[in-house]
Amino acid sequence: MKVKALKKTANELKIEVEGVGHTLCNLLQKRLLEDAHVESAGYDVPHPLASNAIIYVRTKGRMKAEEVLQSAVEKIRETNKEFGKELQKVLKKA
Protein backbone atom coordinates (compact mmCIF):
# COMPACT_ATOMS: atom_id res chain seq x y z
CA MET A 1 0.00 0.00 0.00
CA LYS A 2 1.57 3.27 -1.18
CA VAL A 3 0.12 6.71 -0.58
CA LYS A 4 0.81 9.65 -2.86
CA ALA A 5 -0.48 13.15 -2.12
CA LEU A 6 -2.04 14.72 -5.20
CA LYS A 7 -3.34 17.94 -3.71
CA LYS A 8 -2.93 19.46 -0.30
CA THR A 9 -4.19 22.76 1.07
CA ALA A 10 -5.11 23.94 4.57
CA ASN A 11 -8.34 21.99 4.68
CA GLU A 12 -8.18 19.74 1.64
CA LEU A 13 -6.46 16.51 0.86
CA LYS A 14 -6.46 14.39 -2.25
CA ILE A 15 -4.43 11.20 -2.12
CA GLU A 16 -3.82 8.34 -4.45
CA VAL A 17 -3.55 4.97 -2.71
CA GLU A 18 -2.12 1.95 -4.47
CA GLY A 19 -3.59 -1.43 -3.77
CA VAL A 20 -6.98 -0.49 -2.34
CA GLY A 21 -10.38 -0.68 -3.96
CA HIS A 22 -14.02 -0.09 -3.12
CA THR A 23 -13.80 -2.27 0.00
CA LEU A 24 -11.76 0.18 2.02
CA CYS A 25 -12.66 3.42 0.26
CA ASN A 26 -16.40 3.05 0.66
CA LEU A 27 -15.97 2.23 4.32
CA LEU A 28 -13.75 5.29 4.77
CA GLN A 29 -15.92 7.70 2.80
CA LYS A 30 -19.11 6.82 4.66
CA ARG A 31 -17.34 7.15 7.99
CA LEU A 32 -15.82 10.51 7.01
CA LEU A 33 -19.25 11.89 6.10
CA GLU A 34 -20.48 11.07 9.60
CA ASP A 35 -17.86 13.45 11.01
CA ALA A 36 -19.23 16.95 11.68
CA HIS A 37 -15.89 18.54 10.70
CA VAL A 38 -16.05 17.14 7.19
CA GLU A 39 -17.59 19.22 4.45
CA SER A 40 -17.08 16.80 1.61
CA ALA A 41 -15.55 13.37 1.16
CA GLY A 42 -15.38 11.14 -1.86
CA TYR A 43 -13.41 8.52 -3.69
CA ASP A 44 -12.86 7.26 -7.19
CA VAL A 45 -11.46 4.05 -8.57
CA PRO A 46 -10.24 5.28 -11.97
CA HIS A 47 -9.97 1.85 -13.56
CA PRO A 48 -11.84 -1.26 -12.43
CA LEU A 49 -8.89 -3.56 -13.10
CA ALA A 50 -6.10 -1.43 -11.64
CA SER A 51 -6.47 -1.44 -7.88
CA ASN A 52 -5.61 2.09 -6.98
CA ALA A 53 -8.02 4.68 -5.70
CA ILE A 54 -8.19 8.41 -5.25
CA ILE A 55 -9.56 9.63 -1.93
CA TYR A 56 -10.64 13.22 -1.46
CA VAL A 57 -11.47 14.97 1.82
CA ARG A 58 -12.36 18.59 2.53
CA THR A 59 -13.01 19.83 6.06
CA LYS A 60 -14.93 22.87 7.22
CA GLY A 61 -11.67 24.41 8.37
CA ARG A 62 -11.40 23.68 12.08
CA MET A 63 -9.49 20.45 11.57
CA LYS A 64 -6.92 19.36 9.04
CA ALA A 65 -7.93 16.79 6.45
CA GLU A 66 -5.27 14.31 7.59
CA GLU A 67 -6.57 14.48 11.13
CA VAL A 68 -10.15 13.64 10.18
CA LEU A 69 -8.89 10.88 7.91
CA GLN A 70 -6.90 9.39 10.73
CA SER A 71 -9.71 9.60 13.25
CA ALA A 72 -12.04 7.94 10.74
CA VAL A 73 -9.61 5.03 10.31
CA GLU A 74 -9.32 4.69 14.07
CA LYS A 75 -13.09 4.62 14.47
CA ILE A 76 -13.49 1.97 11.80
CA ARG A 77 -10.83 -0.16 13.45
CA GLU A 78 -12.66 0.14 16.75
CA THR A 79 -15.99 -1.00 15.31
CA ASN A 80 -14.25 -3.82 13.51
CA LYS A 81 -12.57 -4.97 16.72
CA GLU A 82 -15.88 -4.75 18.55
CA PHE A 83 -17.44 -6.89 15.85
CA GLY A 84 -14.65 -9.46 16.19
CA LYS A 85 -15.00 -9.64 19.96
CA GLU A 86 -18.77 -9.94 19.80
CA LEU A 87 -18.47 -12.69 17.20
CA GLN A 88 -16.04 -14.70 19.33
CA LYS A 89 -18.34 -14.33 22.32
CA VAL A 90 -21.41 -15.49 20.40
CA LEU A 91 -19.59 -18.39 18.73
CA LYS A 92 -18.33 -19.68 22.06
CA LYS A 93 -21.89 -19.80 23.36
CA ALA A 94 -23.28 -21.48 20.26
Binding site: M1, K2, V3, A5, K8, I15, V17, V20, G21, H22, T23, L24, N26, L27, Q29, K30, R31, E66, L69, Q70, V73, E74, I76, R77, T79, N80, K81, E82, F83, G84, E86, L87, Q88, V90, L91, A94
Partner: protein
Protein backbone atom coordinates in the same frame (compact mmCIF):
# COMPACT_ATOMS: atom_id res chain seq x y z
CA UNK B 1 -23.23 -4.11 18.33
CA UNK B 2 -25.13 -7.31 18.87
CA UNK B 3 -24.77 -10.60 17.03
CA UNK B 4 -27.12 -13.52 17.07
CA UNK B 5 -26.41 -16.88 15.43
CA UNK B 6 -29.47 -17.88 13.43
CA UNK B 7 -28.07 -21.01 11.89
CA UNK B 8 -24.74 -22.73 11.96
CA UNK B 9 -23.37 -26.06 10.80
CA UNK B 10 -20.14 -27.30 9.21
CA UNK B 11 -20.58 -25.30 6.03
CA UNK B 12 -23.25 -22.68 6.58
CA UNK B 13 -23.63 -19.79 8.91
CA UNK B 14 -26.37 -17.18 9.20
CA UNK B 15 -25.96 -14.27 11.56
CA UNK B 16 -28.23 -11.46 12.65
CA UNK B 17 -26.06 -8.40 13.18
CA UNK B 18 -27.55 -5.38 14.94
CA UNK B 19 -26.07 -1.92 15.24
CA UNK B 20 -23.79 -1.84 12.21
CA UNK B 21 -23.85 -0.21 8.78
CA UNK B 22 -23.78 -1.20 5.12
CA UNK B 23 -20.14 -0.24 4.41
CA UNK B 24 -18.87 -2.48 7.19
CA UNK B 25 -20.82 -5.62 6.31
CA UNK B 26 -20.11 -4.99 2.65
CA UNK B 27 -16.38 -4.64 3.33
CA UNK B 28 -16.45 -7.97 5.17
CA UNK B 29 -18.36 -9.58 2.31
CA UNK B 30 -15.93 -8.26 -0.28
CA UNK B 31 -12.93 -9.37 1.77
CA UNK B 32 -14.35 -12.85 2.21
CA UNK B 33 -14.77 -13.18 -1.55
CA UNK B 34 -11.46 -11.66 -2.64
CA UNK B 35 -8.92 -11.64 0.19
CA UNK B 36 -9.42 -14.62 2.50
CA UNK B 37 -6.91 -17.22 1.29
CA UNK B 38 -7.61 -20.89 0.70
CA UNK B 39 -5.91 -23.75 -1.10
CA UNK B 40 -6.34 -24.91 -4.68
CA UNK B 41 -4.32 -26.75 -7.30
CA UNK B 42 -2.20 -24.11 -9.00
CA UNK B 43 0.12 -25.99 -11.35
CA UNK B 44 0.31 -29.51 -12.65
CA UNK B 45 2.93 -31.64 -14.30
CA UNK B 46 1.27 -34.07 -16.68
CA UNK B 47 3.37 -37.20 -16.92
CA UNK B 48 1.00 -39.23 -19.01
CA UNK B 49 -2.42 -38.49 -20.41
CA UNK B 50 -4.08 -40.78 -22.88
CA UNK B 51 -7.62 -39.72 -21.98
CA UNK B 52 -9.72 -37.79 -24.47
CA UNK B 53 -9.52 -34.62 -22.38
CA UNK B 54 -6.63 -32.29 -23.16
CA UNK B 55 -4.10 -31.56 -20.41
CA UNK B 56 -5.46 -28.01 -19.99
CA UNK B 57 -9.03 -29.21 -19.38
CA UNK B 58 -7.86 -31.72 -16.78
CA UNK B 59 -5.77 -28.99 -15.14
CA UNK B 60 -8.75 -26.65 -15.02
CA UNK B 61 -10.97 -29.34 -13.51
CA UNK B 62 -8.32 -30.09 -10.88
CA UNK B 63 -8.04 -26.40 -10.01
CA UNK B 64 -11.72 -26.11 -9.26
CA UNK B 65 -11.79 -28.95 -6.70
CA UNK B 66 -12.21 -27.38 -3.24
CA UNK B 67 -9.51 -28.56 -0.85
CA UNK B 68 -9.49 -28.62 2.93
CA UNK B 69 -7.19 -25.79 3.91
CA UNK B 70 -4.74 -25.40 6.77
CA UNK B 71 -4.10 -21.68 7.11
CA UNK B 72 -1.90 -21.95 10.20
CA UNK B 73 0.83 -24.21 8.84
CA UNK B 74 1.10 -22.86 5.30
CA UNK B 75 2.19 -19.51 3.89
CA UNK B 76 1.04 -17.60 0.88
CA UNK B 77 3.70 -18.12 -1.83
CA UNK B 78 4.44 -14.37 -2.02
CA UNK B 79 4.93 -14.18 1.76
CA UNK B 80 6.90 -17.39 2.17
CA UNK B 81 10.51 -16.99 3.34
CA UNK B 82 11.68 -19.50 0.71
CA UNK B 83 11.23 -16.86 -2.05
CA UNK B 84 11.35 -19.69 -4.53
CA UNK B 85 9.25 -19.71 -7.67
CA UNK B 86 8.71 -23.41 -7.25
CA UNK B 87 7.76 -23.29 -3.57
CA UNK B 88 8.85 -25.17 -0.46
CA UNK B 89 7.24 -27.40 2.16
CA UNK B 90 5.69 -24.35 3.80
CA UNK B 91 3.90 -23.01 0.76
CA UNK B 92 3.22 -26.01 -1.45
CA UNK B 93 1.52 -29.39 -1.18
CA UNK B 94 1.85 -32.08 -3.83
CA UNK B 95 -1.03 -34.24 -4.96
CA UNK B 96 -0.46 -37.20 -7.24
CA UNK B 97 -2.85 -39.03 -9.49
CA UNK B 98 -2.04 -42.34 -11.10
CA UNK B 99 -4.99 -44.15 -12.65
CA UNK B 100 -5.58 -46.57 -15.45
CA UNK B 101 -8.82 -48.02 -16.72
CA UNK B 102 -7.94 -51.68 -16.62
CA UNK B 103 -11.36 -53.23 -17.06
CA UNK B 104 -13.66 -51.19 -19.26
CA UNK B 105 -14.64 -47.54 -18.82
CA UNK B 106 -13.84 -45.88 -15.55
CA UNK B 107 -14.70 -42.55 -14.02
CA UNK B 108 -11.88 -41.00 -12.05
CA UNK B 109 -13.06 -39.33 -8.87
CA UNK B 110 -11.34 -36.78 -6.63
CA UNK B 111 -10.68 -39.36 -3.87
CA UNK B 112 -8.03 -40.96 -6.09
CA UNK B 113 -5.81 -37.93 -5.63
CA UNK B 114 -3.08 -38.88 -3.16
CA UNK B 115 -1.90 -36.01 -1.01
CA UNK B 116 1.49 -35.78 0.70
CA UNK B 117 -0.32 -34.18 3.63
CA UNK B 118 -3.55 -36.01 4.54
CA UNK B 119 -4.94 -32.78 6.04
CA UNK B 120 -4.94 -31.14 2.61
CA UNK B 121 -7.35 -33.26 0.62
CA UNK B 122 -10.44 -32.74 -1.53
CA UNK B 123 -13.49 -31.67 0.46
CA UNK B 124 -15.50 -34.38 -1.26
CA UNK B 125 -14.17 -37.59 -2.74
CA UNK B 126 -17.03 -37.82 -5.18
CA UNK B 127 -16.13 -35.09 -7.66
CA UNK B 128 -15.73 -36.63 -11.12
CA UNK B 129 -12.54 -35.59 -12.89
CA UNK B 130 -12.40 -37.48 -16.16
CA UNK B 131 -13.85 -40.57 -17.75
CA UNK B 132 -11.36 -43.09 -19.11
CA UNK B 133 -11.98 -45.73 -21.75
CA UNK B 134 -10.33 -49.13 -21.43
CA UNK B 135 -6.53 -48.94 -21.30
CA UNK B 136 -6.45 -45.15 -21.06
CA UNK B 137 -4.18 -43.70 -18.41
CA UNK B 138 -3.57 -40.51 -16.49
CA UNK B 139 -0.48 -39.83 -14.45
CA UNK B 140 0.13 -36.37 -13.01
CA UNK B 141 1.56 -34.38 -10.17
CA UNK B 142 -0.42 -31.35 -8.96
CA UNK B 143 0.97 -28.52 -6.86
CA UNK B 144 -1.41 -26.97 -4.37
CA UNK B 145 -0.84 -23.41 -3.17
CA UNK B 146 -2.63 -20.87 -1.08
CA UNK B 147 -4.16 -18.03 -3.04
CA UNK B 148 -6.75 -15.30 -3.00
CA UNK B 149 -10.14 -15.06 -4.67
CA UNK B 150 -9.18 -11.82 -6.43
CA UNK B 151 -6.69 -13.77 -8.54
CA UNK B 152 -8.90 -16.74 -9.40
CA UNK B 153 -12.32 -17.94 -8.24
CA UNK B 154 -10.82 -21.34 -7.33
CA UNK B 155 -9.25 -19.59 -4.32
CA UNK B 156 -12.58 -18.32 -3.04
CA UNK B 157 -13.33 -20.02 0.31
CA UNK B 158 -17.07 -19.42 -0.06
CA UNK B 159 -19.60 -20.48 -2.63
CA UNK B 160 -21.96 -17.77 -1.43
CA UNK B 161 -21.71 -14.80 0.88
CA UNK B 162 -24.51 -12.25 1.09
CA UNK B 163 -26.26 -9.88 3.43
CA UNK B 164 -29.66 -8.28 3.47
CA UNK B 165 -31.55 -5.83 5.61
CA UNK B 166 -33.70 -7.19 8.40
CA UNK B 167 -37.27 -6.80 7.09
CA UNK B 168 -39.97 -5.04 9.07
CA UNK B 169 -43.63 -5.67 8.25
CA UNK B 170 -46.60 -4.04 9.86
CA UNK B 171 -50.20 -5.03 9.21
CA UNK B 172 -52.70 -2.49 10.50
CA UNK B 173 -56.13 -3.31 11.92
CA UNK B 174 -57.84 -2.08 8.74
CA UNK B 175 -56.85 -5.27 6.93
CA UNK B 176 -59.94 -7.07 5.64
CA UNK B 177 -58.13 -10.40 5.46
CA UNK B 178 -58.74 -11.04 1.76
CA UNK B 179 -55.58 -13.17 1.61
CA UNK B 180 -54.29 -11.81 -1.73
CA UNK B 181 -50.92 -11.06 -0.14
CA UNK B 182 -50.72 -14.61 1.22
CA UNK B 183 -51.11 -16.06 -2.28
CA UNK B 184 -48.73 -13.73 -4.07
CA UNK B 185 -45.82 -13.76 -1.60
CA UNK B 186 -42.98 -15.74 -3.25
CA UNK B 187 -41.33 -16.54 0.09
CA UNK B 188 -44.45 -17.56 2.03
CA UNK B 189 -44.00 -14.87 4.63
CA UNK B 190 -47.71 -14.67 5.46
CA UNK B 191 -50.28 -17.12 6.73
CA UNK B 192 -54.04 -16.74 6.70
CA UNK B 193 -55.96 -17.51 9.84
CA UNK B 194 -59.77 -17.21 9.75
CA UNK B 195 -60.21 -13.62 8.52
CA UNK B 196 -56.84 -12.26 9.45
CA UNK B 197 -53.37 -12.24 7.88
CA UNK B 198 -50.44 -13.12 10.08
CA UNK B 199 -46.70 -12.98 9.60
CA UNK B 200 -45.34 -16.50 9.74
CA UNK B 201 -41.75 -16.15 8.56
CA UNK B 202 -40.53 -12.57 8.70
CA UNK B 203 -36.88 -13.29 7.89
CA UNK B 204 -37.73 -14.94 4.58
CA UNK B 205 -39.05 -11.62 3.23
CA UNK B 206 -37.00 -10.25 0.32
CA UNK B 207 -38.67 -6.81 0.35
CA UNK B 208 -40.16 -7.36 -3.12
CA UNK B 209 -43.32 -5.39 -2.17
CA UNK B 210 -45.57 -7.75 -4.17
CA UNK B 211 -47.85 -8.00 -1.14
CA UNK B 212 -48.35 -4.24 -1.00
CA UNK B 213 -49.11 -4.09 -4.73
CA UNK B 214 -51.50 -7.03 -4.59
CA UNK B 215 -53.52 -5.50 -1.77
CA UNK B 216 -57.04 -4.46 -2.85
CA UNK B 217 -57.46 -1.83 -0.18
CA UNK B 218 -56.38 1.79 -0.60
CA UNK B 219 -54.22 2.78 1.22
CA UNK B 220 -52.82 -0.74 1.74
CA UNK B 221 -52.82 -1.82 5.39
CA UNK B 222 -49.50 -3.62 4.91
CA UNK B 223 -46.36 -1.63 5.35
CA UNK B 224 -43.07 -3.28 4.38
CA UNK B 225 -39.84 -1.59 5.40
CA UNK B 226 -36.47 -2.57 6.80
CA UNK B 227 -34.28 -1.87 9.79
CA UNK B 228 -31.40 0.30 8.64
CA UNK B 229 -28.83 -1.00 11.10
CA UNK B 230 -29.74 -4.68 11.22
CA UNK B 231 -28.52 -7.25 8.73
CA UNK B 232 -28.91 -10.93 8.01
CA UNK B 233 -25.47 -12.08 6.95
CA UNK B 234 -25.27 -15.50 5.34
CA UNK B 235 -22.20 -17.38 4.34
CA UNK B 236 -21.78 -20.76 2.70
CA UNK B 237 -18.31 -22.23 2.77
CA UNK B 238 -16.98 -24.39 -0.04
CA UNK B 239 -15.68 -26.69 2.69
CA UNK B 240 -12.12 -25.36 2.56
CA UNK B 241 -12.43 -23.54 5.88
CA UNK B 242 -15.08 -23.44 8.56
CA UNK B 243 -17.51 -20.50 8.17
CA UNK B 244 -16.52 -18.99 11.53
CA UNK B 245 -12.85 -19.14 10.54
CA UNK B 246 -13.60 -17.40 7.25
CA UNK B 247 -15.40 -14.55 8.99
CA UNK B 248 -12.79 -14.10 11.72
CA UNK B 249 -10.07 -14.21 9.07
CA UNK B 250 -11.90 -11.46 7.15
CA UNK B 251 -12.04 -9.31 10.29
CA UNK B 252 -8.30 -9.81 10.76
CA UNK B 253 -7.52 -8.89 7.15
CA UNK B 254 -9.68 -5.74 7.33
CA UNK B 255 -7.86 -4.66 10.48
CA UNK B 256 -4.50 -5.32 8.85
CA UNK B 257 -5.41 -3.22 5.82
CA UNK B 258 -6.66 -0.36 7.98
CA UNK B 259 -3.55 -0.51 10.12
CA UNK B 260 -1.35 -0.33 7.06
CA UNK B 261 -3.32 2.58 5.66
CA UNK B 262 -3.08 4.39 8.99
CA UNK B 263 0.68 3.98 9.16
CA UNK B 264 0.99 5.15 5.55
CA UNK B 265 -0.87 8.40 6.15
CA UNK B 266 1.25 8.99 9.25
CA UNK B 267 4.44 8.51 7.23
CA UNK B 268 3.09 10.96 4.65
CA UNK B 269 2.63 13.57 7.35
CA UNK B 270 6.20 13.22 8.63
CA UNK B 271 7.60 13.45 5.12
CA UNK B 272 5.79 16.69 4.39
CA UNK B 273 6.41 18.50 7.65
Amino acid sequence: MEIEVLEKDEKNMRLLIRGTNVPHVNALRRIIMTEVPCMAVDEIVMLENSSILQDEIVAHRLGLIPLKTDLDSYNLPEECPCKSEFGCNLCRVTLTLDVEAKEGTKTVYSDELKSENPEIAPVSGKIPLVKLAKEQKIRLEAYVRLGKGKNHAKWQPVSMCTYKYMPKIEISKNCDGCGKCVDICPRNVYAKTENKVEIRNLMACILCMDCVEACTQNPPPIEVSWEKDTFIFSLESSGALSPERILSEAIKILDKQLKEFESQIKVKKIEES
